[in-house]
């Protein structure tokens, strides 16, 4: 028994643990998601996060020792943002042909999400620091962290808000679009990429390749628009 405890103490402090636990839990959640016919509420990110967080809490493993392994996955978020150049480039003709409508929608949707988050938070009496971390919530996590830092928010919280925003979109968008009668896959995908970044785009990619491509396009546009406009508007206000 003591051997086992010692082994656990050793394993839980090596980077190997965080990396293995993340991959295995994600594969399990992914398999369940497929088994359930990709039901929105079975979102693999949601369940992986819940399972890992409760496992760490129950075993008393501190987040930093988990992150020492998980950072290798986390690091790839940066190159993934760079990789968004690919869907943008692939769809460049469409982007050029529909530049007006797509830019209008990306601007209006991004602004509405960011402004309404801050306004609702302010009306509910959230402290200033949290409001500054809420503003970039529709942008993919690594970029949201950068923007929050510029605004004087808390980068780690901004990343958490971005992930939660992604999950809300990925889980609820289908029902919202059905209720509104928004049918075309391109429009659904573009809205998902605009309002819930990578996690919404991942959901769109699972469901339909057209929706996925438009989600990737929206994601790339939102990253550029938000990182230019949000700090600019915050400075003016």
């Amino acid at each position: 028994m003591t051997d086992f405890v010692q082994l656990w103490v050793y394993l839980s402090t090596t980077p190997l643990f965080g990396l293995t636990a993340t991959l295995l839990t994600y594969l399990l959640a992914q398999a369940v998601y497929q088994f359930l016919g990709q039901a929105p509420w079975a979102n693999p990110v949601l369940w992986t996060v819940l399972l890992l967080a409760s496992m760490l809490s129950l075993s008393g493993t501190p987040y930093p020792s988990y992150f020492s392994g998980a950072q290798f996955i986390h690091f790839l978020l940066g190159p993934a943002v760079v990789a968004l150049a690919w869907p943008l480039w692939q769809r460049r003709d469409e982007l050029r042909r529909r530049a007006g409508p797509l830019l209008c929608a990306a601007l209006a949707g991004g602004a509405a999400a960011s402004a309404s988050a801050v306004a609702i938070g302010w009306a509910l009496g959230l402290p200033d620091e949290l409001l500054r971390s809420l503003a970039p919530k529709s942008v993919t996590a690594p970029v949201a962290m950068g923007i929050a830092e510029q605004l004087g928010g808390i980068p780690a919280l901004a990343a958490v808000f971005a992930v939660l925003t992604g999950l809300v979109g990925a889980i609820s968008a289908k029902y919202l679009f059905d209720a509104l009668g928004v049918v075309p896959a391109q429009i659904r995908g573009f809205a998902l990429g605009t309002a819930s970044h990578g996690i919404g785009a991942a959901r769109a990619m699972h469901v339909n390749s057209d929706a996925g491509a438009y989600a990737g396009l929206a994601l790339g546009l939102q990253v550029v628009l938000a990182s230019v406009l949000i700090p600019l508007i915050a400075r003016i206000l």
Binding site: P101, A141, T165, S172, L176, A185, R188, V223
Partner: protein, 126 residues
């Protein structure tokens, strides 16, 4: 032995990101490094020797995009004190603003596409 397109593609991604990080720090562009890296890469993709390896690695990386958010998501557990104090209000703000963002984007895009006559083919997404 042929060089692996995945490795070459990854090297291009990292190189563009590094150039982006260098530019934000040196020229104070005010954009996050990876975003500038993305803009640089868009310009480089016109060349086939960049496009082929980058396409391979980007497809692989973006197919598993959601996995990359897990470590940050688990970080929720370190903010439990803050979240238990403001959790419900934060949730209301996050959920409502996401719905507003989704609805505004979808409706504006539908209206502007209709006006320009570039309406997308109405295929049903289940």
């Amino acid at each position: 032995m042929r060089t692996s397109p995945l490795l070459t593609g990854l090297a291009w991604l990292l190189l563009c990101q590094s150039m982006g990080e260098a530019l934000t720090r040196l020229a104070h562009v005010g954009l996050p490094g990876p975003v500038i890296g993305m803009l640089i890469l868009v310009c480089l993709l016109r060349w086939k020797f960049v496009r082929e390896p980058v396409g391979a690695v980007a497809d692989a990386l973006l197919a598993h995009l959601s996995l990359l958010f897990v470590p940050v998501g688990v970080g929720v557990m370190t903010h439990m004190a803050l979240l238990s104090q403001y959790g419900l209000r934060l949730l209301v703000a996050l959920v409502l603003s996401t719905w507003i963002g989704l609805i505004v984007t979808a409706l504006v895009l539908r209206a502007t596409l209709r006006r320009t006559g570039a309406s997308p083919n109405a295929e049903v997404l289940q």
